[in-house]
Symmetry: C2
Subunit: 254 residues, 2 copies
């Protein structure tokens, strides 16, 4: 299986290494950021192409792992590619490809990727979608080389998964950040909170979050809520978030 | 070391088992909920007392692990106890004890406890505080039987830690819950999001959360933000949270 990779960001890089490890040859890499493409291509021993027109016409897959906004433009430039064209986005519909290709699909790894940290692809849910059953099977074969958790998901449901991921990952990380900033203001170390963060995530691996909600809001502990709000009086942004989320937690009890 | 335990909730129960495992004898258990006290006392082979006046006068420690609001009242009933009296609350000041006792302090384990799930006490930061250095040392000796991470923290800083924990744990769990509800609305399994939740928490074990923020808000990906808000139009509460947290994330970039 010959694959072309378009992109050189977090997802593209992790995917490239995981594919290589799974024995899938990446023959070419293209990126808007040519220097990044060179760095990545060197590491995975692929060819760098400077123009999308140089794409290997014999490749089985071309994977677009680029910013959502860039997918339509790049797809247009690749029009007529004979293999299967894929994107890896949670939020972009399958239909983005329909004008320009005969075989197309989506391979969306539901995970957060950072350049600095390795992830075990085998545990990552990979959502796949395609324009035909035959193409879906080809994508499934590719995806199953990466993960034991490959799930067909249509564009509408994939969008919901992406949105749910924003709540469970991006917003959660921001709460960690607010917590870290608050500690720093009082010269307290973020290390004090790290075990709590891990335990909170581990707890919902085998329970539903609503079943294990703790804290003053779910207990209706008005005195503590009041004290906390007083501590945040000089930080209106934190106060708004505190009030919004506390109210939302209270509603789950009803 | 003889210890009396007042309380039978999540924290009290986990603490009781951890103390017992560390070789600290719990001689008596009292709880407002006598049946819970009986269950716990039976498991740790302690005596149940129905009235606080029956407390063992020779005990070295009396640990109040009860609701914040109940601490002043129970403290008053225990007035004159000769050992060291402690509470385990993040939000209640050390001064709650000063009228009634000569030796008093705080032992606050910074963790989230659920009856259903075991936790490894050894990794939990335990914040300690006392009215004298001598009492602090006694509390330190007790706390170090439980954890390798015992830190003296005064009441003011402890309140900040508790508030930071609400952001990093209680609010975070609520975001998991909102995510889970959203998935359920579309008949998607929460299992799809569980690996992401764990990875998000693991990522900040060795990085600061601001350094690893991902998602549409930090990328200023206005198209995706717009699409997400459209998906939430019929859920005003989720929409408010989405907008509040996205705005807050954008501000961190500036």
């Amino acid at each position: 299986m010959k694959t072309v990779l378009v992109g050189s960001g977090n997802v593209a890089t992790h995917l490239a290494f995981a594919l290589q490890e799974a024995g899938v040859a990446i023959v070419q890499v293209w990126s808007k950021h040519i220097q990044n493409a060179k760095t990545l291509a060197k590491e995975i021993k692929a060819e760098v192409i400077a123009n999308l027109s140089e794409i290997d016409k014999q490749a089985d897959f071309c994977i677009l792992s680029i910013k959502d906004d860039a997918i339509p433009t790049v797809a247009k430039e690749l029009a007529g590619f004979k293999g299967i064209i894929l994107h890896t986005s949670g939020a972009v519909s399958l239909a983005v490809f329909e004008k320009h290709f005969r075989k197309y699909g989506v391979l969306y790894p539901l995970q957060t990727f950072s350049i600095k940290k390795d992830v075990d692809f085998n545990k990552i849910p990979i959502c796949i979608e395609a324009n035909t059953n035959e193409t879906l099977e080809s994508i499934r074969q590719l995806a199953e080389k990466l993960s034991g958790n490959v799930v067909p998901v249509d564009s509408e449901k994939r969008k919901i998964l992406h949105l749910a991921a924003v709540f469970a990952c991006n917003f959660t990380n921001h709460l960690y950040a607010l917590s870290s900033d608050l500690l720093a203001d009082y010269e307290l170390d973020f290390d004090m909170i790290r075990p709590l963060i891990l335990e909170t995530a581990e707890k919902v691996q085998h329970a539903l979050p609503n079943e294990v909600q703790t804290g003053p809001a779910i207990r209706n502990d008005e005195q503590t809520l009041k004290k906390h709000k007083e501590l945040l009086l000089k930080q209106p942004q934190l106060l708004t978030i505190y009030e919004t989320l506390s109210e939302s937690i209270k509603k789950t009890k009803k």
